[in-house]
Subunit: 664 residues, 2 copies
């Protein structure tokens, strides 16, 4: 497994050069830059926007269409009560410290991480060891701490390393203890920050003109799906299991956004909520199709032991060995793996990491993240959580809505049990305003209590029940108002709250990580002196598929440009014409930076015999043939039916060097 950031060709990845290229080519750009920008907010320019749309399109085909998921589109604005019930108002928070001297606001876990890493680096320097750019790129972030070469005890080094391996597992109090214990100071002031306090990450607003309905911008699309569960089940004609899916923006008011697109305040998510019967081990009928797929796993136990060693394992074995809890969770891990592969992610830079207990969101029963290795370390790009019945249960309890599945039983179930039967007509007049309370208390009794109450009724003609808040706290109910009897109950239907398996994708993080994975530098490779960045996107996700370049601005070329453009547009393939006065080589280079996989040149030979050349971005090899043959080749490359080597084998190579004459 690679531990320092590299390009697709194994070159060392220079983040500054890449970032400059991405901004220059307008993949993305800080939002409101002419106003000085706002941390954590980015706009996508044309290539980024198109790349995003292509990833989303593939996602929709890979997940939604493949499994007939029910796609819905819900609102971002969410009233307080919904997120109070879901637990987000109370628990969706990060730990924040404040520097009492200069007012700096620090995210507690990042602060502890930064200072300890800096000390470890200083220790290495003091020992005269070679300090790699970073030991573990997971930790490579914009460091605020200046490293000082101070040697540490061996035991201290080990302790720090163990803390770092499980940094995601500490709560606020524990982070506060670490700050005290290791005397961690804010490097900007030399002062120890205040103890961590929870900072809720939701953006708040108020809805309506009278400002009395508090609301938030959703932190995830999931809640909108849960709230529509009963309607979706109806729409699916009561068939289980099924999945809903949503693609839309979510918002998190990050304490200290950093690392470009990797930690932003507004982002596009694609989330699936797969509803499954909790009985029967959460099997999945398509699991056999993925059984043999090998994943790279980093489980909870390894991390808690202070290690980061991964295991390679088929998902079938992982489920059978209980490394991964159940088939449905496993099925989606494998599907996520296949999706990442399809869009062009470097699979040697992917691992699935299991969450530790304290790290899991408040709703999760188990959770695995697909992490992608980048120059900012291992980045969580997809979460795959088993949310159990948590969300449906809390919303049902709060609203009384029946967020359940009713299933007709093939064989009725028979129960024998103590049952309470209340004569409601007499009950009301007797207890007046307390009627409901007493009724509820009776209904809430256990089987054991009921057995005793039945005996009281039989013996005394009345029962005695403790009901807080009614009279002196003890209520007597006579036998003409209530019966308590041991009876048989037959159930023909079964009612249950489904469990939810949730694969949740951060599209922006995937997009950025993918860019790093497909980026390389042609100059370094060829020994040239000028850096020439290339983005080797697969044709399916590339923002533009074909660059059309006329040899020069000669008017003779225009009809050919128009014809090929129209032909490509008609078959839905996005193309761009570059008839600028730059050299052909320069124009191709510019489009290598945009990741355009194919190029078509129109030259004087085209005018004579209507043939055009087709260039492959990655090899820079060219072939030449008539227009229709080239268009057919383009289509087969873009749909993935063929690879370049197939086309190169079929069509005559074109050896004419890229013309470097400056043309007007």
């Amino acid at each position: 497994m690679t531990t320092t950031a590299t390009t697709l060709k194994g070159q060392s990845l220079d983040r500054q050069t890449l970032d400059a290229m991405l901004r220059r080519r307008l993949f993305f750009t800080p939002a409101f830059e002419i106003y000085g920008g706002v941390a954590g907010l980015f706009d996508y320019g044309p290539p980024g926007c198109s790349l995003q749309a292509n990833i989303v399109d593939l996602w929709r085909k890979h997940f939604i269409l493949e499994e007939d998921m029910l796609e819905i589109d819900t609102t971002v604005l969410t009233p307080h009560e919904v997120l109070k019930t879901s637990g987000h108002v109370d628990k969706f928070a990060d730990w924040m410290c404040k520097d009492p001297k200069n007012g700096d606001i620090l995210r507690a876990d990042h602060f502890v991480e930064d200072v300890l890493e800096s000390r470890l680096k200083g220790d290495k320097e003091a020992r005269g060891e070679k300090v790699e750019e970073e030991d573990d790129p997971k930790k490579k972030k914009k460091r605020k701490t200046k490293t000082e070469a101070v040697k540490l005890d061996d035991a201290v080094v080990q302790e720090y390393e163990e803390v770092l391996a499980k940094i995601d597992n500490y709560n606020g109090a524990e982070l506060g203890e670490l700050i005290k214990k290791y005397e961690l100071k804010n490097p900007a002031t030399g002062v120890e920050p205040s103890p961590p306090v929870a900072f809720n990450l939701m953006f708040q607003t108020s809805i309506g003109p009278s400002s009395n309905l508090a609301g938030y911008l959703r932190p995830e699309t999931a809640q909108g799906q849960f709230l529509n569960f009963a309607k979706l089940l109806d729409f699916n004609m009561q068939q289980m299991p099924f999945a809903s899916a949503s693609i839309g923006r979510s918002y998190r008011n990050e304490i200290s956004p950093r690392a470009g697109l990797l930690r932003v305040r507004e982002f596009l998510m694609a989330e699936i909520e797969h509803f499954v019967d909790p009985e029967g081990g959460k099997k999945h009928h398509r699991f056999p199709e993925v059984d043999a797929i090998e994943l790279t796993l980093l489980d909870r136990h390894t991390q808690l032991a202070g290690k980061t060693d991964v295991k390679k394992m088929t998902i079938g074995d992982a489920v059978r060995n209980k490394v991964v809890d159940n088939e449905t969770l496993g099925y989606f891990l494998a599907r996520i793996h296949l999706f990442l592969q399809k869009i062009g992610v470097d699979m040697s830079k992917v691992r699935f990491r299991q969450h530790m207990q304290n790290e899991m969101a408040h709703y999760a029963a188990d959770c695995w993240d697909a992490e992608l290795l980048t120059s900012s370390g291992w980045i969580e790009c997809v979460g795959c959580a088993d949310r159990s019945a948590y969300d449906l249960s809390v919303h049902a309890k709060k609203t009384g809505a029946p967020l359940v599945v009713r299933e007709r039983l093939d064989e009725p179930r028979v129960f024998e049990e103590w049952q309470v039967e209340i004569d409601k007509k007499k009950f009301g007049p007797q207890f007046k305003k307390d009627g409901k309370t007493v009724e509820a208390a009776l209904e809430a009794t256990t089987q054991e209590q009921r057995e005793k109450l039945a005996k009281q009724l039989a013996d005394n003609g009345e029962l005695e029940l403790e009901v807080a808040g009614v009279g002196n706290g003890t209520v007597k109910v006579s036998k003409d108002l209530v019966k308590v009897e041991f009876r048989k109950r037959v159930e023909n239907t079964r009612e249950y709250t489904p469990n939810v398996i949730e694969p949740s994708f951060g599209i922006g993080r995937i997009l950025y990580s993918l860019i790093e994975h497909v980026y390389w530098n042609r100059a370094t490779e060829d020994g040239g002196d000028e850096a020439r960045g290339v983005l080797s996107f697969p044709p399916t996700v590339a923002p533009t598929k074909v660059l059309i370049v006329p040899l020069s601005a000669n008017k003779q070329f225009q009809p050919f440009i128009n014809k090929i453009s129209q032909k490509l547009r008609k078959i839905g393939i996005s193309a761009r014409v570059d008839s600028s006065s730059a050299t052909i080589g320069k124009r191709y280079s510019r489009n290598d930076e945009l990741g355009t996989p194919l190029g078509v040149t129109i030259d004087f030979q085209t005018v004579q015999d209507s043939t055009i050349t087709l260039r492959d971005r990655d090899s820079t090899k060219q072939v030449r043939a008539d227009e229709d043959t080239i268009v057919a080749a383009i289509q087969s490359l873009v749909t993935g039916a063929k690879e370049w080597k197939d086309v190169a084998a079929e069509l005559p190579a074109f050896e004419g060097q890229e013309v470097e004459v400056t043309v007007r």
Copy 2:
């Protein structure tokens, strides 16, 4: 022009029945309904979500791809300063009244409209005239006012009608005067509401952990495009004109959301900002392509005269006659017309209405709305505004960013003019802290003033200038500090701020209006007794293209279901299988409600000879052929290459009645 709401087949449209169908089939549904819902927030279920995606997809092809627009994706969160500069903080407001008795909050223009309309209706009743459901469906909204049959003077009736025709043209003070003048009372309390006050429609929040950066949810996507103008111009290699485009959500905190999807607080917009040179009459090079397209226009003058009569006119004539200001604006009106036609809107229910002066947004120089006739009246679905150079100018002024185009002139321009030349080295020491102010005052002088100042310098060796706030308000500058001379100036480049033509689409409003336009009732048509709703979407926008129905749950049919599903999926055509136990007729009916244009039946003959039937939703006619022939027919229908009548002419009709046997 129709004046009452009708279905596609001219039947009277029953809004309740349609709404019930749309909710039952989960096109859309009130958000957070199990929590009681929030006014103005809706979720789209699977068919609505798919319909929305198809409309957006066609929009992208019709506008962005067709004209190589630069699509970008910007953030919703927007800092205060940006929207302060754009004018939204001060001016993006509606007029709101409060009932002093019960605290009701009323939108002032809607309130005036409601009460006056109610009085007019009462007048008609008193005169014994036939009261149509609504005289003008523009005014048909959920009426709060109970109508009383009271006869009005003829002059009063005319006055009310004139007020209503220009209701969109009143400002807050004027609405307040109308309320006083006509003694308008809140029907709920019989009390006159408070004078209208401005209520800003933007949702506010704060960004970052220290809560000190105020922000809003964007009310339009436009600002994000303007702020990126310089980068987009670069990306477009300095070529003008060009357009950017954005598809994304925007937010308006409506005072009183109503009418379902037509007035909501969170909505999807698709906006184009076309940047054009203000010199040369804003010509458009593709205008000849649309010149002959006939539009239905309702101009400003007609409305101000208290009328709503439309004129039919080709866009060519409209521009030549100055009804529409310029070619670029006209070009986009025609393109909007073509888009609406393409997605299936009933073009007899479309008009383009010009904004009146007071009605226009603060940034607009001219504006036309494409309005669609629905059961809620004429609904603004697309706005097409000439925003002039307003936005780019204010942002450039505020930030100092050069949001301009620099164009090399073929022939240099020569100016002869009075120029001021300041000796800055001497200027500072002489005027100290006032230096900059005096300098600015000198630079700001007009040609006329400069001629006089030059004379003063020549005559007195110094000039006298009024500079507010410096000394006693008059400053003397001697000739060794400043020269004022008549000189020649040569410009090789021209610098200008582009004007912006902005077509802006409310996707939700278009979606809902389209549904009303394609809705009809088969039962009424056929004389049957049960209402059977049909949505006759064109295949391109229909949520699902093909319904696959096996005759029964017989296992023999399964392989055929799988085969046809896979074939359709492979060519990217969305299909659904309905193997429920309902009758075939019932299953087809259900899918008529979803607007599925085509149906395939698999029956016992299929098992024998592999033929299947294909059904047309609108005519309910069927043909029968082998699987590949039917798949090819489906493809040609879905892409629009053929219509049903072509297919019906080519393939043998299938006369077997829909089987009404109940199957399991």
